[in-house]
Each structure stands twice: as structure tokens, then as C-alpha cells.
């Protein structure tokens, strides 16, 4: 009788253990976004323009250099920071300035930002400035977008295709 009771208790204990294992392996459910929300992802990899333009070295500068290093053109390595602004229906959603990476500030930046928004129709405006030598934003894109629930709208930046690309 005692042995039977022990086996019953063992089954009870194993059941508790397995219920804990099963429950926390799937529950409680996590709501990443609300059912009426969509996600806008701003994602790009881009290097800003050099801070200064390439220029000719003066004869005096060339003379100071060893003969094997007398390149007549000098290009500064440092890149410009990249300023990005994103508006939805003229309301600012995101504004940030990304400093160039690298010890000499000569690397590009990689950006991935997510924004949860309610689904629906929006007027989207995004602009980017990648040079300290220009006064205003040199890339601007505007579009009317309709966001469905659970949709992922990706805003990429590909200067070789003319600037922003919305997927």
C-alpha cells in the first residue's frame, strides 16, 4: 500500500514538473505588437561624404614628404555625420544624427530602428543629410503609404538608386 502511494506521489510530482516545463515553454503568450499595429523599420548602411573635398597638395607640402609618398592629391579620411529625420503626417517620428564609426571617423554607419505605429494611411516623409558641406538635407523622400496590420514597412537608403527605397 505504501509503495502504491509512493508511485502515485511520484506520478504527481513528475506531472507538476512537466506542467511547469510545458507551460513556460509556450506561455504566457507575448504580444510583440498589438493586432492593429504595423512596424516601420528604418534600415540602411551608408558612409557620409568626406568632411573636406580632395585637394591638390602645394609644392611646399610635396617637398616635405618623402619622395615615395608625394601623391599630389590629398583626401581627408574623416566622414560627415549622417542626419536623419522621419515624419509621419508631418509629425516627427525619429530624428537622430549618426556619427561616423572608426578611430579616424572614416567608417560608415549601420542603422536599424523599428517603430510601432497604428495601421492605416500615412503621409511619410524622410530626409537625410550626409555631408557637412551642404546646408540642407540632400536626400528627401515623400510618399503616401497604407500600413496593414502586422505589416513590416522597410525604409532603406540606396544612393545608387537615387536615395530612399521603400519596401
Amino acid at each position: 500500500m505504501n509503495n502504491i502511494l509512493r508511485y502515485v506521489l511520484q506520478i504527481f510530482n513528475y506531472s507538476i514538473f512537466m506542467i511547469i516545463v510545458w507551460y513556460f515553454s509556450v506561455a504566457p503568450a507575448y504580444q510583440h505588437i498589438a493586432p492593429d499595429q504595423a512596424l516601420i523599420a528604418l534600415s540602411f548602411g551608408h558612409a557620409g561624404q568626406p568632411v573636406e573635398e580632395c585637394r591638390q597638395r602645394t609644392p611646399e607640402e610635396l617637398a616635405e614628404l618623402p619622395p615615395n609618398m608625394r601623391n599630389p592629391i590629398i583626401c581627408p579620411r574623416e566622414r560627415s555625420p549622417i542626419e536623419v529625420e522621419l515624419f509621419l503626417d508631418e509629425q516627427p517620428l525619429f530624428t537622430e544624427t549618426f556619427q561616423p564609426q572608426g578611430l579616424s571617423g572614416d567608417w560608415g554607419v549601420d542603422v536599424y530602428r523599428q517603430f510601432k505605429v497604428l495601421s492605416g494611411q500615412y503621409h511619410l516623409k524622410i530626409r537625410l543629410k550626409d555631408s557637412v558641406r551642404v546646408k540642407d538635407f540632400n536626400y528627401v523622400h515623400e510618399a503616401d503609404v497604407v500600413l496593414k496590420p502586422a505589416q513590416l514597412l522597410v525604409i532603406d537608403f540606396q544612393p545608387e538608386k537615387g536615395g530612399f527605397v521603400i519596401q
Binding site: 513556460f24 507575448y30 505589416q151
Partner: protein, 555 residues
């Protein structure tokens, strides 16, 4: 008849004073305010909870199969299930971005074999984390993570992380919406570290992901992390001897069957197939492994790293919060060491090594103690054949290996004092352990007690000695059976008494008069009951013998 559990009389107070004297020698190692706070508010409440659950599980499973006594080996057993089921799943798995999901779905559809294997892989992995968490909390509550045990605790934390990473990469491979969520979250976290030259997250935009990336993940999950985990676990148990990585058969069968039943009743299933153009809004997260990802919805990746690394560092540094002060390490007396290696064989923490003789004696080897590894448990003293109290009866007892704070000579002297205080029809000497129920609660006119760091430090010859010096019985109360604070104290003592392990208790000693028990702090009533029963048994045995003797004298 006087109850053995009656409060102390004057004689016993003397005995208790003796005990106090012994501990006062260790004043330097008494708890500081920080330690008192730690024990009172953290260790004790959790430990008491465990002790009550322990008692319940001991009743249901028996001490041999109590899962709480085998959490470490249970984790190893579950890892074996993970490995074998994982190998099976891998054979059927398609490591391509288009084929991965379908191959896993096909497995799930075959509910009786591949589906069960997939579910076993999932649930055994989850059970590993649960068992490890219980292991961590238990070792914490028993204060088995500070002092000489810092190494196992410290190295266990990275192993836990490797296990979690193994689970995360496993979820990634299914390539369902949960995998998509995990992949993007992981990439965001990795992008926050200065280790990649370009954004990893951008790989998960529509059209950017390739099979090669998937193959890389499979390689990390199947080879890279498992190899690192095995190495991590080897380091984790490096400072222990006779590591138990094999779970008792009964527990293994029960756990495996429970997992199979769970796999059949609630098979592991996937979410919808991953689609990088949409965002999964409700996810059935596996909270054992994926609990860090929701933080990314509230904090930046950098902040999430700070919190995660902070918790990890806190865990790793816990053995020094506050620093535990342990008594001096065991000391070898070469004049009395014949290099028999019994201490080397019995040491639970690999603190003793046998090295070439340095004193020119005729023996080949000598015992050498590494103080950094020594737990000061004294188990080596109990294993030394020179700890025999019958030796040097008229002068100070010196043994081959001894504890500077509580030498074997003092145990003998305490024994003499204790025996001298005993009065009554039955005389019992109780040896108790410092990490279990307080045996001094049993002090009475016919019962004297001596507390030691571990009952494993009592040489079996002491039991013989105590009886020859007038005691009717010897009661040894160690930690609760199966859960010795110093790992092997109870076990070695039991084997020595049964003559299964050297040094043996002399075969002429009546085993009926020796009681080997185990009692945790919450078992005080049980301990007193057992002592009372032992006393009554001795009394019952003694009275007929005395009666016969008296009758013979009368005739």
C-alpha cells in the same frame, strides 16, 4: 524513566561548554554581520523551503531517487536526451532557408516517432534550464557557492549562458515566426556590440537572407556551442572528485517517461512560417530561453546588454559577497604519514595529491594538501589510519593528516570529557554535524553530544574506542541522508562502518549499538525521536543481560 530528550543538567552543561570551547577556537571564522544578514534573509528562508520539499520528495521517491539530490546529474541526463533526440532531428532537418520549416513540419506530422523526438528535444532542453535554476537556487540557499566552492559557481555561470545560446540558436533553425523574431532580436543585440563591420539585422530584410547564413547557424548550434558547453561543464566540475554525472536509474526512467508522455500529450509545434514582410504580433515564447527578447521592446539593445551583463557579473561575483572565511586547511604530519593515499581517495574536493616523498622516509609517497582547494571538512582525518584513538593513550594523539582548528587529539579529549559526564542506565555518545540538526538539543544525563565540521571526520576506530570506554551506544547524526554538505561525509562513514571502505570499523564491534542517522535543521523532532528509540533499544538489550547477571550472582 528519564526521557533522553529532557533539558540539560549540570553535567551536560559541562559537555556543552566543551563544545563551545571547541567552536570558540574558531572565533575568527564566526559569521560577520554581512554573513548573518545573508544567511538570515536569503539562505535560511529558501533553504527551509527546500528542506520541507526535500522531505516530501524523500517520502515519494526515497533518498536514492530524490530529484533535488541529483539536480546536477539530472541536468547531464537531460542533456543526453537533448543530444540523442537532436541527432535524430538533424538527420531529417533541411538546412536551407526554404526547406527548414517544411522539414520540421514533416517531423511534427509523424507524431509517433519524429514528432516525439522533436518534442523530446524541446522539452528536455527546457527541463535542463529548469533543473539548472533549481540547482543554482539550492546551492545558494545551502551556502554551497562561497569559499572553496567559488570555482564551481563561477564557472557554472558561463556554462548556463552557453546552454541558453544553444537553445536560442535551436529556435532560430525552425525558421517560423518565432525564429524570425528571435533572429531579428539577436541581430539587434549583436549590432550593438562593436564586433561586426556591417549590420547583421539587415540580413533579415526581404531578399537579403541566404542559405549560407542558415548553414552557419546550424554549424554553431550543432557543433560550436555543444563543444564549448562540454568544455564548460568539464571546467565546472574540475575541482570535485567522483563527480556524479549518472543519474540513479529510477529517476532516469521516471524523468524519461514523463518527457515522453508530455511529448505525446502536448507535441512541440511551430508558429507560422517566417515571412520577413510581416511582423508576428503574438508569440508563444519559450520563457526558459527567450526571456531577454521582450526587453528589446522597452529598452535599446545597449541597455539590454547592460542589464544582462550586470546580472551575469553579479551572479559570478556572488561567492565573494561577502567573502567566506574558512578555517585553516588540513595539515599533513609527515612523521605519521605512510602514503597510504586513503585521504587522497576520500577527499571530496581534489585538495589532496600524492607526491614523491620529501623526508627520506621509506615510503614512496606522501600526501600533500592544496590549501586553496581544501574545504576544511576533516573527512581526510577520518580516513587516516593514524587517527586511531587507541594509539598514544598516555600522550597527545598525533595523526597523519589533521585539522589545525579541531585536531583529532581534541576530539579524543572531548570524548573523554563527554563520557565522564554520562550517568544513567544507558550511556550514549552522539556525534553531530555542524551543518545539520543541532545534536546538542538531545543533551541529557545519559546522552552527551559532540559537534564536528562533518561526521565524516570521525575515524571508525573512535566508535570502537567510545564503546570500550563505557558507552553503550554511539549515535552519528550527519546531514540529511543523500545531501551531505561536504558531499561524502555520510557515505564514507556508512561504508566504513559496514567495512566496505577503509578504514573499517573493527568487525567485533556490535553494529546494533551504532546508529548512523541524518537530520536536516528542520528534522529536530525526528532526530530526538530517533535518539530516544535508539536509547530504548539499548536499554531493552541491556536489561535482560543485567537481569541474567544478577540472577547468576544470586544463585
Amino acid at each position: 524513566m528519564k526521557s533522553p530528550t529532557k533539558p540539560s543538567n549540570q553535567n551536560i552543561t559541562v559537555q556543552s561548554d566543551k563544545y563551545q570551547h571547541q567552536l570558540l577556537a574558531s572565533d575568527t571564522y564566526k559569521d560577520t554581520l554581512g554573513e548573518q544578514t545573508l544567511k538570515k534573509f536569503f539562505h535560511k528562508p529558501i533553504n527551509y523551503t527546500y528542506l520541507y520539499v526535500d522531505a516530501w520528495l524523500n517520502f515519494a521517491f526515497g533518498t536514492k531517487n530524490n530529484p533535488l539530490y541529483h539536480l546536477g546529474s539530472l541536468a547531464f541526463f537531460l542533456l543526453w536526451i537533448v543530444l540523442i533526440s537532436g541527432l535524430y532531428v538533424f538527420v531529417l532537418f533541411d538546412t536551407s532557408i526554404t526547406g527548414a520549416y517544411q522539414s520540421v513540419e514533416s517531423m511534427t506530422e509523424q507524431w509517433y516517432l519524429a514528432g516525439v523526438m522533436r518534442s523530446l528535444h524541446r522539452y528536455a532542453s527546457d527541463a535542463v534550464i529548469l533543473v539548472i535554476l533549481l540547482h543554482i537556487i539550492r546551492e545558494f540557499s545551502l551556502d554551497r557557492y562561497r569559499g572553496f566552492r567559488w570555482f564551481s559557481w563561477f564557472t557554472g555561470v558561463p556554462s548556463l549562458w552557453m546552454m541558453i545560446l544553444l537553445g536560442i540558436t535551436g529556435y532560430w533553425l525552425v525558421w517560423d515566426q518565432l525564429a524570425q523574431y528571435v533572429a531579428i532580436g539577436s541581430s539587434q543585440l549583436l549590432d550593438a556590440l562593436p564586433i561586426f563591420s556591417s549590420s547583421m539585422t539587415r540580413n533579415f530584410l526581404v531578399g537579403n537572407l541566404s542559405d549560407r547564413f542558415f548553414t552557419l547557424m546550424a554549424l554553431i548550434h550543432l557543433l560550436g556551442l555543444p563543444v564549448m558547453l562540454v568544455f564548460g561543464l568539464w571546467i565546472h566540475v574540475k575541482r570535485l572528485t567522483k563527480v556524479e554525472i549518472v543519474v540513479p536509474r529510477g529517476l532516469a526512467i521516471g524523468t524519461f517517461l514523463a518527457l515522453v508522455v508530455l511529448s505525446l500529450l502536448k507535441p512541440a509545434v511551430s508558429h507560422e512560417q517566417a515571412n520577413l514582410a510581416i511582423v508576428p504580433y503574438e508569440l508563444n515564447l519559450d520563457w526558459f530561453y527567450l526571456n531577454v527578447y521582450p526587453l528589446l521592446d522597452y529598452w535599446t539593445a545597449g541597455e539590454t546588454w547592460i542589464v544582462t551583463i550586470g546580472i551575469t557579473l553579479l551572479l559570478m561575483l556572488m561567492p565573494w559577497i561577502p567573502i567566506k572565511r574558512t578555517p585553516p586547511a588540513a595539515k599533513v604530519n609527515l612523521d605519521h604519514c605512510n602514503g597510504c593515499a586513503q585521504c587522497f581517495d576520500d577527499c571530496p574536493f581534489d585538495a589532496i595529491s600524492m607526491q614523491a616523498r620529501t623526508d627520506g622516509a621509506r615510503w614512496k609517497r606522501e600526501a600533500v594538501v592544496n590549501p586553496d582547494l581544501c574545504a576544511s571538512c576533516g573527512i581526510c582525518v577520518g580516513s587516516c589510519p593514524y587517527s586511531n584513538p587507541f594509539r598514544h593513550a598516555d600522550k597527545k594523539l598525533t595523526t597523519g593528516i589533521d585539522m589545525p582548528e579541531f585536531p583529532v587529539a581534541e576530539i579524543r579529549s572531548a570524548t573523554h570529557t563527554a563520557l565522564a559526564t554520562l550517568k544513567g542506565p544507558v550511556k550514549i555518545l552522539v556525534f553531530g554535524c555542524n551543518h545539520s540538526a543541532d545534536v546538542t538539543d538531545a543533551d541529557a544525563s545519559e546522552i552527551a553530544t559532540i559537534k564536528l565540521a562533518c561526521t565524516g571526520m570521525i575515524p571508525p576506530s573512535f566508535i570502537d574506542y567510545v564503546m570500550k570506554k563505557g558507552a553503550d551506544g554511539v549515535f552519528v547524526s550527519g546531514c540529511r541522508c543523500g545531501d551531505c554538505y561536504y558531499r561524502f561525509g555520510n557515505r564514507w562513514m556508512e561504508k566504513r562502518v559496514r567495512a566496505e571502505r577503509v578504514p573499517h570499523l573493527h568487525k567485533k564491534v556490535d553494529r546494533q549499538r551504532v546508529y548512523l542517522g541524518g537530520a536536516a535543521e528542520t528534522d529536530k523532532a525526528k532526530l530526538l525521536r530517533e535518539i530516544a528509540a535508539f536509547r530504548n533499544m539499548l536499554l531493552a538489550d541491556k536489561q535482560p543481560a543485567e537481569k541474567t547477571k544478577k540472577e547468576a550472582n544470586d544463585e
